[in-house]
Subunit: 335 residues, 2 copies
DNA sequence: TTGTATGCGTTATCAG
DNA sequence: CTGATAACGCATACAA
């Protein structure tokens, strides 16, 4: 079924069918009805590719995320799609995995679909070296790139993020102020935001006059969703160093620490205080409930889409929008 | 940048550029290199829409899921994309939400992208009335439809699912056999699979000679990720009826029950046994860890993609593939 | 091995 | 209000 078939059956030209399809008001009602009837009768759907050839914009945004089964990323994607849909934009979602080459391929793939803009969800799309980020520069020459939870200063690249450094600083300082000075820091990502969190932690330690904190910083190199494996990891860490507090860059790591405490017979929060990050649904899932940092994901996604829409309509928009996170106090901390 | 620009700069015809792009072996190496250099220099990506016009197949599969932030669906989508990618297929993912009209719109939208097949993830795409499912029949006339975790008997529609009835029957029977005869059944979806689970529960009750189970079947009509709200709901249920076991159609509901137990001062599993469903990461998140039903998602997604590939290459494939689920025993049950 | 010409299904610009 | 026709960017059959 093509527009030609429909036009023939309806006894009009393809131009008229096209007008009906696109809701032009310059069609006589009777003609419109005649065409609509045929369209519905044959359940005709215009070919998106042919359509994409002519049109300048398809009102489509490409969304890339590393892994849709990550709680944080999945939620972000969900909010983004809702926002975009509400603004009349379609979205194309690709889950790229964490391999840099594959990520770059997907970026080009989605570019070939003539999207009006691209949203990169999560800071793992930004590397530390210039070379790693070259592909972003290349693409940004063609269409705007929006970064969620990452920052990259370049023309036509816009960033929306949480002040992870400052927020982590506050969280860690709160723990130090509460008198806990030997804190295990758990992280599993060296992404842009991962580094910011770590630097915030370090800054808080130094501000608290703690000097031996480096030996309590542990990188977990496994699947964070395997909570027992995380607990094992914390257990091994406990054999090397002692700690009365745990701060993690992600809720799942923090929950691994809570699990470890259970095994070791430590009471949370009396013997061990724990703070997570992302304020995911996991926080209310464990006992006691996990104190965690809320990075205002919904606010961020809203801001990001608004910025994108502004950019697309030619307005001057802020290159970077930073929000402060907030410590949500629950049962794993006394303070 | 179009194929014309590249051909001009490289001093060849567009046909040659096209050949290079598509890896034809009928191009002199020197010519190929000349063209490739230009392509890379200008970071040229062929327009997918123009390409899609001529080609029969774009080796693309459309995936529809209601909500990517649902743990079960997100995992399913992840596995599917991995499988498809491994077989050289691209995938387009759309999160439709739960509104029937919007779901139907998305189905047509994705159809217009000339996908080779469509995967509907989760049983909420199948309704109980003929009319609700008409849109699936219509689309299946054009391309194969694959159902994950749902079943629908119709030409060109293929189903891969877990025997939710039988699996729930086994789980509930295990609890009855352990001597627990007053069981609260929690569910929050009347989808195809939701109904199967419920019927499995009922069958187990009847087989166990229990006659008053209907009054302990509760439908939760809220966001299952709000665990405290679920706990509230269970608390109110406990005011109406008494129970020493809880079986839920989803892990999050089950965890809500565990939370309720904590509030009410009930010991799990001594005073209250709990069984969840889906064997998600939430199971290891709570204390004690949740006994849950594993519906072999990874096996299902693998089978589904294999079936799809078979169908696309014209082979005769099973219309329906059913797997048995398995009760994973953890800390919330004694048996 | 390379180039030319055509078709794919729309939208949009003109005429009428 | 409606119809004819030129793009749009690529793949490919056919010619050279």
């Amino acid at each position: 079924m093509t527009i030609y078939d429909i036009s023939k059956k309806a006894g009009v030209s393809i131009a008229t069918v096209s007008r009906v399809l696109n809701g032009s008001d310059k069609v006589r009602p009777s003609t419109r009805k005649k065409v609509m009837d045929i369209i519905e009768k044959y359940d005709y759907t215009p070919n998106a590719y042919a359509r994409g050839m002519g049109l300048q914009s398809l009102r489509t945004i490409g969304i890339l995320c590393a892994d849709s089964s990550d709680l944080f990323l999945a939620k972000a994607v969900y909010y983004l799609q809702q926002e975009l849909q509400a603004s009349g934009y379609e979205s194309l979602l690709c889950c790229t995995g964490y391999n840099p080459d594959i990520k770059r391929n997907y970026l080009h793939l989605i570019l070939s679909k003539k999207v009006d803009g691209i949203i990169l969800v999560g800071s793992n799309f930004i590397g530390t070296s210039e070379e790693e980020n070259q592909y972003i520069k290349d693409v940004s020459a063609q269409i705007p790139i929006m970064l969620l939870n990452a920052s990259f200063d370049y023309p036509n690249v816009y960033s929306t993020l949480c002040d992870d450094h400052g927020t982590m600083y506050e969280a860690a300082s709160a723990m130090v102020t509460a008198g806990i000075r030997d804190i295990l820091y758990l992280y599993n990502s060296r992404s842009y935001s991962g580094c910011k969190k770590l630097s915030g932690f370090r800054a808080a330690m130094e501000a608290g006059g703690i000097t031996d904190h480096e030996k309590r910083i542990f990188f977990y190199d496994g699947d964070p969703q395997q909570l027992d494996a995380v607990a094992d990891f914390v257990e091994r860490a406990a054999e090397k160093i002692s700690f009365h507090g745990v701060i993690a860059s992600d809720d799942s790591l923090a929950i691994g620490a809570v699990k470890y405490a259970g095994r070791a017979g430590l009471k949370v929060p009396e013997d061990l205080s724990v703070i997570g990050y992302n304020n995911s649904m996991l926080t209310t899932c464990c006992t006691p409930e996990l104190t965690s940092v809320d990075n205002r994901l919904e606010t961020q996604t809203h801001q990001l889409v608004q910025t994108l829409l502004g950019v697309l309509s030619g307005e001057e928009m802020p290159k970077q929008s930073v929000f402060s996170g907030k410590l949500i106090k629950r049962g794993t901390t006394l303070f």
